[in-house]
């Protein structure tokens, strides 16, 4: 204007400004998605992470909650073990239409278990734990054990499975989005990689949140994506619908093609002697180049049309798959086979499922899974607290409704973050305190878990935030710290027995409970020293 010549400096700053204006809205938008997805699904995802992390120790928790069981028995020969199982089933359920034998093969299945389904329709299956050395039944208390906790991770509780699957799928998607948007929002991703500034209020919470997230980012991305793959048939049903249509039998056709039934036969009613199981297991071992069988499923046992399904070990490697062979139960002839690896897409899916479950993980890798899961819990918890700390600092400028929302989240945070561990401790206490011969004992243990959690939420909702945090922290200290003492009073498999005997599952659980109690005690002392959570 006025004949002035535009210089380079006049052009470049405006281009930079345009670039800056484009970048800022993206980061702001991603921050909004990150915040709202985290806020709306934080409690549920925290529950999934806690129960999922405990799932990596499901067998160990199972054992602690069934102190009647001896140390693990998966090093015994599978042929003799299987024979003990079949002898038991033959004497206790000869007329059943289906027998199932879980052979102890590894840490995931350390005990010999049998199940049978009565020939009469409408009957539930029954099960028994057997001593793998002698075949004698081990009477164990009715409990959900670690499996119940793990199943809550993907089934929740008190909800129909179809609804629970959708809720879990939405939460998993929210988690995945939160992780990706968090990476975009995190301005100083590398500069803050090793940064943890203590005693700085909001900055400390942000550093802790970033550190827990970034240190385990590969794990978090894997776990959230593979969790969605678990639910892909429910979460993305239209892909199957597009190929198989929407007619009444279309869904069945899809699943029959994906998991085709193998050598199905109906019972004839003619009794015939069964082929020796040792022969079948030997054939399977030769077929699988030395790999052992893990599961025997016998349909129509003792019938002319008996079928023996032999399945390999799903946890043999990272790809969660196993071969399956079907033998004629009378002649021992091989009738059908399903290969462990059938196609590349299926193997990719099985790899993701295997990585998610970590069944193949040896002790060191399993410890890494546990640590990553715990850091995931820390990531979510610090995120939830950070939201309240940030907004409490802006409270003077907030509207009344925003303050109400802030107060609600502040109060619920302690009930969720500390309340859930307290509830899980209560679940373990119930396992030791409820009468062993109580009906539906396993269900009552779970009711105790949720009852205590509701109680902590109610306490947190009606108490001042700071006080609730401190009180619940000390409840957690008591809940976990006193567990080994309770174990000593109620069973003979306490630390005084398990340590000298080298029973590291029982000893490890008790020592882990003490460690958790100490961790909560440190948190309680830190909160008392600071006088508040921020």
């Amino acid at each position: 204007m006025g004949g002035a010549v535009m210089s380079e400096h006049d052009i470049l700053p405006s281009a930079r400004d345009r670039l800056r204006d484009t970048a800022r809205p993206l980061r702001t938008a991603m921050a909004g998605v990150h915040t709202w997805a985290g806020l709306l699904f934080g409690c549920l995802v925290y529950f999934m992470f806690v129960t999922g992390t405990l799932g990596y120790l499901d067998s160990e928790i199972d054992r602690w909650m069934r102190p009647e069981l001896p140390p693990a028995q998966y090093s015994l020969p599978s042929a003799s073990t299987a024979q003990h199982a079949l002898d038991y089933l033959q004497s206790h359920a000869p007329a059943a239409r289906r027998w199932n034998v879980q052979i102890p093969v590894d840490r995931n299945e350390p005990y010999l278990r049998v199940q049978w389904l009565s020939a009469e329709p409408g009957q539930d299956s029954q099960s028994a734990w057997l001593d793998a050395r002698t075949g004698a039944r081990i009477i164990v208390r009715d409990t959900g054990g670690g499996q119940a906790l793990y199943q809550m991770h993907w089934r929740l509780h008190y909800l129909p499975q179809s609804i629970a699957e959708w809720i879990i799928a939405l939460a998993s998607m929210a988690l995945f989005l939160t992780l990706l948007t968090g990476v975009v929002v995190h301005r100083r991703f590398f500069a803050d990689f090793f940064t943890l500034r203590l005693g700085k209020g909001q900055r400390t919470w942000l550093d802790a949140h970033n550190l827990a997230s970034v240190a385990t980012l590969p794990f978090q991305l894997m776990i959230s994506y593979s969790g969605l793959v678990f639910l892909m048939f429910s979460f993305t049903p239209l892909i199957a619908t597009a190929w198989y249509g929407v007619s009444p039998g279309a869904g069945r056709a899809f699943y029959d093609e994906l998991f085709p039934p193998m050598a199905v036969a109906t019972a004839t009613g003619n009794r015939m002697p069964s082929v020796p199981v040792v022969q079948v297991l030997e054939q399977a071992k030769i077929h699988w180049h030395g790999a052992e069988a893990a599961v025997l499923d016998i349909q129509n046992p003792g019938d002319a049309h008996a079928r023996i399904h032999v399945t390999g070990n799903f946890a043999a490697g990272p790809v969660r798959t196993a071969g399956s062979l079907v033998f004629d139960g009378v002649t021992g002839n091989l009738l059908a086979e399903r290969l462990a690896r059938q196609s590349t897409p299926r193997t990719a899916r099985d790899l993701l499922l295997g990585l998610h479950e970590g069944l193949f993980a040896a002790p060191v890798l399993r410890a890494m899974y546990m640590l990553s899961g715990l850091l995931g819990c820390v990531m979510i918890a610090t995120g939830m607290v950070l939201w309240t700390v940030k907004r409490r600092q802006r409270a003077a400028r907030s509207t009344a409704s925003a303050l109400r929302g802030l107060t609600l989240v502040e109060r619920l945070n302690s009930g969720v973050i500390f309340g859930l561990p307290i509830a899980i401790a209560a679940y373990f206490w119930a396992n030791r305190l409820l009468p062993v011969d109580m009906d539906s004992r396993g269900q009552h243990e779970v009711h105790v878990l949720f009852g205590v959690w509701v109680a902590t939420l109610l306490y947190a909702a009606f108490s001042a935030s700071g006080r609730a945090w401190r009180v619940l922290a000390w409840c957690a200290v008591l809940g976990f710290g006193a567990l080994p003492v309770l174990n000593m009073i109620t069973t003979h498999r306490h630390l005084g027995y398990s340590l000298p005997a080298g029973d590291w599952v029982m000893a490890g659980f008790d020592l882990g409970a003490i460690a958790l109690g100490c961790a909560f005690a440190l948190a309680a002392c830190a909160m008392k020293k600071r006088g508040c959570i921020a």
């Binding site: 090793f194 550190l211 970034v214 240190a215 993980a361 060191v364 640590l371 990553s372």
Partner: protein, 93 residues
Amino acid sequence: MMLLTFAIIVIGLATLALAMERHGEHLPATLSGRHAAWVLRVLGCSALVCALVLLLLVTDGIPAALIWLGFLAPGTLCIAFGMTIANLIHSRR
């Protein structure tokens, strides 16, 4: 071998941390500067690669990679806490 691998990872991460401007103040003056930072980064990355190679010597590909990734998390935490403690000591002097 696992302990050795973890130790190498921690050393590698510590070297990478010290290459950063924020944490490099703990280094002696002779080791500061852009050239020194690049050397530290190369050394740090080399240590991490060395740890992965060690793991591959004792276990298969996928579990080795998973263990390596898994070790990065506690290693990062160790270094972060170490730097925090170093900063606290430095600020109190």
